[in-house]
């Protein structure tokens, strides 16, 4: 039966050779190589669950009086978008489950991307010939960040509306073109009815399409260049050792896919996320509860809080205080990440050779120490995004906590740098005799 179907297609497409090559394709096996797969599978889940939600979501900010099944908001003026989110959550069968799973999947998607990126960084997988995939990966991260933010904002609840206002203020602060850019994107001074339809179109169509295309390209390049190998027997820059794709690797990978789905389903079922009916609809007179963004924007929230209050006048023109932490900082951060493979080549290691064997973190002390320091820097910023919550929890004033964090944001990365560097050197001294060296151009 399978043979007949195969023959039918082969007679039309000449597939046998290619399919056999694919079945026997060597996939290096390692737990750290699964992080990218987890990101891929959460993306698949996001698309499928997103289609379900799009059948019910109403991407309109037109105000209407709520008379749905959530009685606590009966008679309150809400936007059509918010109303439809309540409809999904309370009236659509399995709607709340799919919505919560969609949100959890987004958090996992971003977490997997960040961990995957850290793995790539710490094992120097971005080196030639993989600079292109490094940059595609960063673009995927940026798009995922943006789409997460848009999705979160579509519900048009009190909390997400504050996020939209902050994004508006950040974009507006850009010198010269900021106000035009802001009006082109948001459609006016927020809150405005124009914003939600635009974010909706980007969230469900434009960004997912670009994400899917870039993921396809990312995988195609991996296929062409072949995966990297950790150092080990038989693995050189000219050979690759791994499991055959079929059957054992495929079974494990599909198994992983279902396990990722299972974690998403478990969280969606039992851990409440983004209960917009508790936050209430956006309302100009309401007071916001302790506002925290989704985790992946915590570092941005943190830098907005820690950065000193200082605006600049250029002649008659203003560069508002939020421009520096809100625009300049993330732009420089991503510029640094995008150009890192080249910067490393120029400043740390003068190495333009092609590499297929990964380095272990201790084998590149400076880069590892730098990466750890950067991670610690972002981690302190992440916690700074919750400094008011920390202040309440520890019984201190926000001012005191913020002062500590302002010191910590420099001291902690510096300390991390030296500790990581020393640890790498120490490890290198103890392990080097036993470890297989990276055999370049053997």
């Amino acid at each position: 039966m399978i043979r007949e179907i195969g023959d039918w297609f082969d007679a039309r497409l000449h597939l046998a050779k290619f399919v056999r090559k694919a079945l026997n394709h060597a996939f290096p096996d390692h737990w750290s190589f699964m992080l990218g797969e987890i990101a891929l599978y959460s993306f698949v889940f996001l698309v499928v669950s997103g289609v379900f939600l799009a059948m019910f979501f109403n991407g309109s900010a037109v105000q209407q009086i709520y008379h749905g099944s959530y009685k606590a908001l009966d008679g309150v003026s809400v936007s059509a978008a918010y109303q439809s989110v309540l409809h999904i959550s309370f009236d659509v069968r399995a709607g709340l489950l799919i919505r919560q799973m969609h949100h959890w999947a987004a958090l996992i998607f971003l977490a997997a991307i960040v961990m995957h990126l850290s793995r790539i960084f710490l094992t120097a997988a971005y080196r030639r010939p993989r600079e292109i995939n490094w940059m595609i990966g960063l673009t995927l991260l940026l798009l995922a960040l943006a789409n997460g933010f848009f999705g979160y904002s579509l519900a048009d609840d009190l909390l997400s509306a504050a996020g939209v206002r902050i994004a508006y203020s950040v974009l507006l602060s850009i010198p010269v073109v900021g106000s035009w850019l802001t009006f082109a994107f948001f459609g006016g001074v927020v809150p405005t009815d124009a914003t939600i339809p635009r974010m909706y179109a980007l969230h469900i169509f434009v960004i997912p399409a670009v994400l899917a295309a870039l993921i396809g390209l990312h995988l195609a390049i991996i296929w062409k260049q072949r995966h990297t190998n950790y150092p080990g027997p038989g693995r050189t820059d000219r050979t690759i050792v791994g499991s055959r794709m079929w059957p054992s690797y495929a079974a494990k990978s599909v198994g992983l896919c279902f396990l990722v789905f299972a974690v998403i389903a478990f969280l969606g079922a039992f851990v409440q996320i983004d209960p917009v009916w508790i936050y209430g609809p956006d309302n100009p007179a309401a007071i916001l509860p302790n506002a925290q963004p989704d985790w992946y924007l915590g570092w941005m929230e943190g830098v907005l809080r820690l950065f000193p209050a200082a605006h600049v006048h250029v002649g008659h023109f203003l560069i508002p205080e939020i421009f520096f932490p809100g625009v300049l900082f993330p732009a420089l951060l991503f510029l640094l990440l995008y150009t890192f493979p080249f910067l490393e080549r120029w400043f740390i290691l003068d190495d333009e050779r092609t590499h297929h064997i990964l380095l272990l973190p201790y084998q590149q002390p400076l880069t590892t120490a730098f990466g750890c320091a950067l991670f610690m820097f972002l981690l302190v910023l992440f916690f700074s995004g919750s400094d008011d919550v920390i202040a309440v929890a520890t019984g201190n004033s926000v001012v005191a906590i913020r002062t500590i964090l302002r010191i910590l944001v420099f001291v902690a990365p510096a300390a991390t740098f030296f500790i990581a560097y020393a640890a790498c050197r120490l490890a290198r001294r103890h392990i080097a005799p036993q470890a297989a060296p990276s055999v370049a151009d053997d």
Partner: protein
């Protein structure tokens, strides 16, 4: 065959930890051993007669492949049972999902069934692969990524196609110009999204004589607030006007430290400030009455209401625009005119 086996180096706790890690990642024999093993791997694959068969690098039978009657048969049966159980649980939970969906559709039960079926299915696949599929590593030669110089030159030559194209310079120039014009045409479509930011960003929201009303539309009177309390107010009949929202605070008149020019802006200690934070546009919704500070809940900027809402802490560093007030003959609060500055976050053209 054992090429893939780990070799544990020794050398104190760091060595042990590192060995655990590198064992995890790779194993670590010396370069010499590595070459020998490669050679062996090559030899092993010579026996295969199928065209282009992958070269087997290391191979272990599936742990569950013991023959009937072997000492591990009990374990094998146990493993078989576990995998069977996983798939049957997946099957059962899927049916459970369908039943729950068509009956109660209880959120937690439905999600629990979904999680259970997918978890057990995933476990079943992974265990099947681990116990009942051969653990085999293949080795492959990596192709050199950069093409030989001759190929590079040939493709360049064919692409440039010098011998096939006439009038190239002139026409290519014109084609590029046309493409640029296309791009300009395309980009101008974006103008449809963007209404001009001015005057919307520098609006005249409040007019002289506008009454202050609550969100529900009730006018605010000179007796509405006690000292130390606060209220959100809007211009009458234009409650949803952009950036019009105002936070009204009543303070003890004797404490006021407003600039001289604003001396008559605060009748009976009523102060009105834009409620849109000058930092990031959040609603400045919190008021600490003892300190007479307005606080933004987003980034904890604070503004001193007594001195004209000057920023006193947090990331904001421009004051909240003040709305000049007066009380009419009936005691209703009204605006003397517009805000002292455009409200909201800063921008390039802000005066």
């Amino acid at each position: 065959m054992n090429q893939g086996r780990r070799i544990r180096p020794h050398g104190g706790w760091i060595g042990a930890a590192a060995a655990a890690f590198s064992g995890w990642t790779a194993g670590g024999p010396s370069t010499k051993g590595l070459r020998m093993q490669m050679a062996m791997a090559g030899e092993n694959s010579f026996g295969d007669t199928t065209p282009d068969s992958p070269r087997v690098f290391s191979s272990e039978p599936a742990p569950g492949s013991q023959q009937h009657g072997s000492p591990q048969e009990g374990l094998r049966n146990l493993a078989t049972l576990l995998v069977l159980f996983a798939f049957m649980l997946a099957l059962g939970a899927s049916i459970g999902f369908v039943v729950v969906y068509w009956t109660s559709a209880s959120h937690a039960l439905l999600g629990g069934m979904a999680a259970l079926t997918m978890a057990s299915f995933g476990c079943g696949l992974v265990l099947w692969s681990h116990w009942f599929m051969k653990h085999e590593q293949v080795i492959d030669v990596r192709e050199t990524l950069s093409s030989p110089p001759a190929e590079q030159q040939a493709v360049t030559k064919d692409f440039l196609a010098d011998d096939q194209v006439q009038r190239r310079k002139l026409l290519l120039g014109l084609v590029s110009g046309t493409l640029a014009a296309f791009a300009a045409a395309f980009v101008s479509l974006f103008r449809s999204f963007a209404r001009p930011p001015y005057p919307a960003l520098k609006p005249t929201i409040w007019r002289q004589g506008d009454r202050l009303v609550t969100l529900e539309g009730r006018p605010v009177n000179i007796n509405t607030l006690d000292v130390g309390s606060t209220l959100s107010v809007f211009p009458e009949n234009r409650i949803d006007a952009e950036n019009a929202q105002v936070v009204l605070v009543r303070v003890n008149q004797n404490l006021l430290r407003l600039p001289a020019a604003r001396a008559n802006w605060a009748p009976s200690g009523y102060l009105a400030y834009s409620r849109v934070c000058t930092h990031a546009g959040c609603s400045v919704g919190l008021y600490e009455a003892e300190l007479c500070l307005l606080e933004c809940p987003c980034h904890q900027s604070t503004f001193d209401v007594l001195s004209g809402a000057q920023p006193t802490g947090g990331p904001a560093d421009r004051e909240l625009p003040q709305l000049p007030l007066y009380a009419d003959a009936d005691g209703n609060l009204r605006a003397r005119g517009d805000f002292s500055a455009p409200p909201g976050p800063g921008f390039w053209g802000l005066p």
